[in-house]
Symmetry: D2
Subunit: 129 residues, 4 copies
């Protein structure tokens, strides 16, 4: 079982260079203040970053990430992560991932965190899966 | 159950302003490449950051974090996070968290990631739990 | 003379919460590789960040910044920094600043760096200038 | 003239993988609040980062940097930047740079900012200067 499955992340369809994920904050995802753990929100964004950066013709490995937290999220809240490409170079690439809380209508309506990450890209060997 | 318990983080003794945590990478903590998920390592560092920053006379909330990844970590590896205070101000404070892999002798011997985080500090109301 | 003047930054009109700056890379702005110094590009982005964050009803002081570099910029190149608000809270706020190189037509056409910064906000005393 | 010379940075002796720089905050280095511009302090740290990372057998180019600001620095203050290696890999390396203010005795005695930066390393062609 992968970490994404342990945390019940759901992957939504997206074009190459992008990714969209969705998760529900559970009672087992909270920090000492009772809100969603920073690591839970980061993991959702990081998974979107990994999917987006590995959707290109190279294996992408995370080098450096920054994360800014805007608002607390509570158990029962549904959050989405939306990754897009800021820069695609030969050896490195940078992605932006917005973490948003869904409103009552199922549409994301409030930014809760912002993640920016850079990967190192290794050309895939021919015949690789 | 907290997120730290879901991920089986073990808290080791530390002085105020510091924190030390320990975790074993399990099969359920891996990413698409089969190594420890970036979010798992981040969560360990973030929990150390939260414990260290909340050990002072204020409630500390994460504002901004950066994380640099040095090496992949595999299932079965044991990792430690060690948080120390870089700057303690009245309203904000900054912590450094080293993530290290333990060697065969149980001593941390290789840096696998570096986390730097800044919190906003709110004075605790008297009588608070 | 301010640092912005020393580096000949030109401020373009922008709405509250935003800022736009422009600068020409001079021979005195280069690093050891002969391209624009990372500190020169950062300073342009940081000045846009300062203008945007201080355009609200509070004094804003930088807490934490991250910068990703995409491309080298050479002497003679003209660059723009465009700051926008990612999140405006009561005590903290986060801004995104894109650094772009102008093409032959004077329009920005290539991203050269991305800056993300968070400020601490202090209410302005009444009667302040 | 390089940017380091424009800003009158003085390079102090250091071992490979390290760097130490020194600068005096001048009246022309200030921001809109009258203290040292964030870009001035960053440029000093970034120059130390460049010297330290290029002291190894490779050309090093900055990819991603984060900077945390602790205290304001005023005109007349003397600041030092001290770079050290956090991780040296084949293709990437990470450095930590502390920015410190000198006390009356010429010894650095207060941390004013912390910079963490990652470079991409390109092997030097034989015969390179």
């Amino acid at each position: 079982m992968s970490f994404a499955r342990l945390l019940a992340f759901e992957t939504l369809p997206a074009e190459p260079g992008r990714a969209r994920l969705r998760a529900t904050v559970g009672a087992e995802h909270v920090n000492m203040h009772g809100s969603a753990h920073g690591g839970f929100l980061y993991s959702l964004a990081d998974e979107a970053f990994a999917i987006a950066s590995n959707s290109r013709e190279a294996d992408a490995v995370a080098l450096s990430v920054s994360m800014d937290y805007f608002r607390a999220v509570l158990p029962g809240d549904v959050v989405q992560a939306r990754a897009s490409e800021e820069h695609l170079g030969r050896r490195v690439a940078t992605y932006r991932v917005e973490v948003l809380r869904e409103g009552a209508d199922g549409e994301p309506d409030e930014a809760v965190a912002l993640f920016t990450g850079t990967v190192y890209r290794r050309p895939r060997a021919r015949g690789d899966a």
